[in-house]
Symmetry: C2
Subunit: 218 residues, 2 copies
DNA sequence: GGCTTATTTTGAACGTGTTCACTTTTGGAC
DNA sequence: GTCCAAAAGTGAACACGTTCAAAATAAGCC
């Protein structure tokens, strides 16, 4: 009665009906959440509204994301990862290290400037973001940025523009620290519309302090 | 009929009944909130519990603080301001600038290590904290820390341990950027109990990168 | 004292994020 | 096709932060 061949065929069926419908639901949720977050902002978007627009039950949301914050990163992790690979892909050989760094961070600044309100929530919610289905992915992304900066530093040594005593990872850490602090300050300062050029100019000035160092020349 | 003298006396009466009872209520709320935040943490403490312990109505809370976050800073602004003046008051003339800086930030690290869970919330909630009755006080406190660091840098120039091209304020900003980023990382990394010595050692290493600079010596 | 006005207090009511006991759907065995 | 266990979906229910119209209280004036 049972036909092994047919059974196999139906079994595989592009991952099965279940998986396909799960993927479709996830995509619906993604789209609905992105639209609403961008339209109304993070706080003003309710989980009920997301569920309604995605055409799923309210409870279903929380099988795809641990909580509302996780829902935010479900969306923006993708964009941030894409953004990071773009930022580091571009060739970049300015004579000054500070300019090479600013060129990389420019992409992040531009991305945040496009949606400053949402960016503020991103930066706020990522603080001590360790629990949640998307949290690990975000942490990995973060490490990748630091690794990219470290690679840039290494290349800088080869080019003779970097001659730090500390190892590349530690230098990258100092650079990343300054970036994270400055991007926060930039978005906090300019109450409503942050100016891209101004933010990058300030970032460059502070990075330049790091490049030059503080101690007297011997 | 009316006696001017008496009228004046009753009018002043140590600020009047109303003001005294307001001050007493505020003190009750402060105490209740501090106890509960320390006992149970920020999230687990409900505004209803604070109101109950302070022996006031629920709505009354929100005439003394704009929201729950503001309630947190109503308490910790006092401690942080006190902490800051202590941290900068101590005499401090180590030969290396990095050590002078670490000595200042040591007090902050120690304070956070004492209550790491609450510290995480403080650092999380202070991101883009501009609205609320206590927000302005907090921002002022923040500026005071940066100003203190700038003064320390200035003293460093006099002692010959600092010879940066950039002005003091900019140098202080770079230092403060590294501090804020590192203290966050420290509290995030060590899942449960952050190690004070380890955190300070890491901070020192990153600050040392700034001191030494990145560019080749000529 | 009484009377009026301004200030302060209050908790019921609202909208929210999240949970969980229950229902529905699916995949596979016979 | 029929059945069963497992997986996925669901919304009523809960606990919470916050608001606001109404009540209570204090101040000032005669």
């Amino acid at each position: 009665m049972s036909e092994p061949t047919l059974r196999n065929t139906s079994r595989m069926a592009e991952g099965g009906l279940r998986e396909r419908s799960k993927a479709r639901k996830l995509e619906n949720i993604r789209r609905a959440a992105r639209e609403l977050f961008v339209e109304k902002g993070y706080d003003a978007t309710t989980t009920r509204a997301i569920a309604k627009r995605a055409d799923v039950g309210l409870g279903t949301l929380f099988t795809y994301a641990a909580d509302k914050r996780d829902l935010l990163f479900l969306i923006f992790n993708d964009e941030l990862i894409e953004l990071t690979s773009q930022a580091f892909a571009r060739e970049n050989s300015a004579p000054a290290l500070a300019d090479r760094l600013v060129a990389v961070f420019h992409d992040f600044y531009a991305y945040f400037a496009r949606q400053p309100n949402l960016a503020r929530f991103l930066l706020r919610e990522l603080t001590f973001y360790t629990q949640g289905l998307e949290a690990h992915r975000f942490q990995a992304h973060r490490d990748q940025i630091v690794a990219g900066v470290a690679a840039l530093v290494k290349r800088g040594r080869a080019d003779g523009v970097v001659a730090a005593v500390a190892d590349d990872a530690l230098v990258a850490r100092a650079i990343f620290d300054i970036y994270t602090a400055e991007v926060r300050r930039w978005l906090a300062d300019d109450g409503r519309e942050p100016k891209l050029a101004q933010g990058l100019a300030t970032l460059r000035r502070v990075l330049q302090v790091l490049v030059e160092g503080l101690q007297p020349r011997r």
